[in-house]
């Protein structure tokens, strides 16, 4: 009897050990999952860097790159200093009351998101917390993405510091407010209007795109972009292949971006013990994402090719394909995702032309690709996904997706981007911090801002590297 009891006790101990191992494995999986989204999202920035530099003329190539690098670099500390706090503090709006899920409000944000006092334990190395750092990292990359979206639109005439200030306002504040309201499970747009934006078509892309529009209105077009009669000239970048490869890198990085929008199962902070969910607690699988992202990329490229035949617009079409379906990548049928993405690819260039004909010089089409198509995607989900519960739970207990709700969401996302973009850039303009002087723009921004040459052998005064040093 005693032997049997001892055997039983040993078996129980083994089982407990095995169970503990499973818990550790799941926690490590969850941490690794989000950790890997971070380098994937950095690929987005490699893409934006290549894309912007390629779209710049030879005289501006390095200054465009420097601007992009600095936006990335300033975004991370500023998001650490206050952006992360804004996200957790204001899902229910002002004054930052706690929401029904119990993970929001100023008091909650004070306890987890400041780099001082007791909350600092969640903002640095902590053996008992394997989630905060990787979540922060993923969100910081979302923030940096918004800044890069704006960055391309304003190349070749903006001042560096003025641009960085705008990037910080966008990446560490404006989109964060939109995310708190429309992405957080306690967000008022979600709980009151059933806004559903799984892949951030509105709260990242549209906010950034329309922030850029607000800036472009005050910044003005590049010298030579428009003729006296208002007609536009095409200002080609110096390296179309670099731009197209950059766009493809952005597409690669978006797999990480969208992966980071998934909540893994089995953790204390997970919605489910046995299945992944969206940030709203609704079910999703990575398989769903694979089906729909691929079909969306294909649809966008094909749609853009139909009328443009231009590789720049084809790859922009791929981005538009993803963005137009991002709100509902969790629930679209792949063929429907293809159709929506195709339509986005078709309307992309006419929308960009429409904007250009109104005197807006968006050097890379960012307002259209991210702003217009972002809102198009938010509204499309309202048309196709009406009746789906927007949060975990049943219709009646929780709000459902509706066309009106998505239109309200689209309007709020537009305002979250455009208003701060316009106001802050206007202030910078008044202070003389927005645009470089005319002479500097004509000379080229590299010669003014960067003590290096992008292509030294091509410059008139630059030393020429001999092909054969012995000669």
């Amino acid at each position: 009897m005693e032997e049997q009891l001892a055997e039983l006790a040993a078996k129980i101990a083994d089982l407990e050990a095995a169970g503990g191992g499973a818990v550790v494995t799941n926690t490590m999986f969850a941490e690794t999952f989000y950790y890997l989204t971070i380098p994937l999202m950095i690929i987005i920035h490699a893409g934006f860097l290549a894309y912007e530099m390629g779209a710049s003329r030879l005289k501006n190539v390095l200054s465009s790159g420097v601007k992009n690098l600095l936006a990335f670099a300033f975004m991370i500390p500023t998001f650490y200093f206050f952006g992360w706090w804004v996200y957790w503090g204001f899902p229910t709006g002002l004054p930052g009351a706690p929401g029904p899920a119990g993970i929001s409000g100023v008091e909650y944000a004070n306890s987890i998101a400041w780099g001082w006092g007791e909350s600092a334990q969640y903002m640095g190395p902590n053996i008992a917390d394997q989630a905060s750092g990787v979540f922060f990292g993923a969100f910081a990359m979302f923030a940096a993405t918004t800044a890069s979206i704006m960055s391309g639109a304003v190349i070749e005439r903006i001042q560096t510091v003025g641009f960085i200030i705008l990037a910080v306002v966008l990446g560490s504040f404006a989109w964060v407010v939109a995310a708190a309201w429309g992405w957080h499970a306690d967000g008022w747009m979600v709980t009151q209007f059933g806004v559903h934006d799984f892949g951030a078509a509105g709260l990242v892309h549209a906010v950034a795109g329309f922030f850029a529009l607000g800036v472009l209105i005050n910044l003005g077009p590049r010298i030579g972009k428009f003729n006296p009669d208002g007609t536009a000239n095409h200002i080609p970048g110096h390296n179309m292949p670099l731009t197209v490869v950059g766009l493809m890198l952005i597409i690669v990085g978006f797999w990480g971006f969208l992966m980071a929008c998934v909540i893994v199962p089995g953790e204390a902070w997970s919605w489910f013990g046995d299945k992944p969910s969206t940030i709203y607690g609704t079910p999703i699988t990575l398989s769903a994402l694979s089906f729909n992202i691929l079909m969306a990329i294909a649809g966008g490229i094909i749609g853009a090719w139909l009328f443009t035949r231009d590789p720049f617009w084809m790859m922009s079409g791929a981005l538009a394909g993803i963005i137009s379906t991002a709100s509902g990548l969790d629930i679209y049928f792949p063929a429907l995702a293809f159709i929506i993405a195709f339509s986005a690819g078709v309307i992309l260039k006419p929308c960009a032309d429409w904007l250009e004909n109104r005197g807006i010089d968006d050097a890379v089409g960012a307002v259209t690709v991210h702003g217009t198509i972002g809102l198009y995607g938010v509204v499309m989900l309202g048309i196709w996904g009406s009746g789906y519960p927007a949060l975990q739970g049943a219709a009646g207990e929780v709000p459902t997706i509706s066309l009106m709700g998505q239109i309200i969401g689209a309007l709020v996302f537009f305002l979250c981007g455009f208003v701060p973009g316009y106001i802050v850039s206007l202030i910078l303009k008044v202070l003389g911090m927005l645009r470089v002087p005319e002479g500097a723009e004509l000379a080229g921004m590299d010669i003014v801002k960067v003590p290096a040459s992008g292509y030294p052998e091509w410059g008139g005064d630059a030393p020429v590297t001999p092909a054969h040093p012995a000669e």
């Binding site: 500023t78 001082w116 600092a120 640095g124 190395p125 053996i127 960085i164 002087p437 005319e438």
Partner: protein, 56 residues
């Protein structure tokens, strides 16, 4: 200073960064923020000075 009473990893069950439990995290956060602002101020001054040379 090791942020636990006993300087042993076996007692570590939470935050383990330098300065945990003291004012160091807050001070370094403040200094880092000031660095960011100062760099922008210096960057703006130097770029504006260079750009002035190209004013028409």
């Amino acid at each position: 200073m090791f942020p636990y009473e006993e300087a042993s990893w076996s007692v570590v069950d939470g935050a383990m960064f330098m300065g945990w439990g003291s004012s160091l995290p807050g001070i370094t956060t403040l200094i880092a923020a000031i660095i960011c602002v100062l760099v922008l101020v210096i960057g703006q001054k130097s770029e504006a000075a260079k750009a002035r040379a190209f004013k028409k």
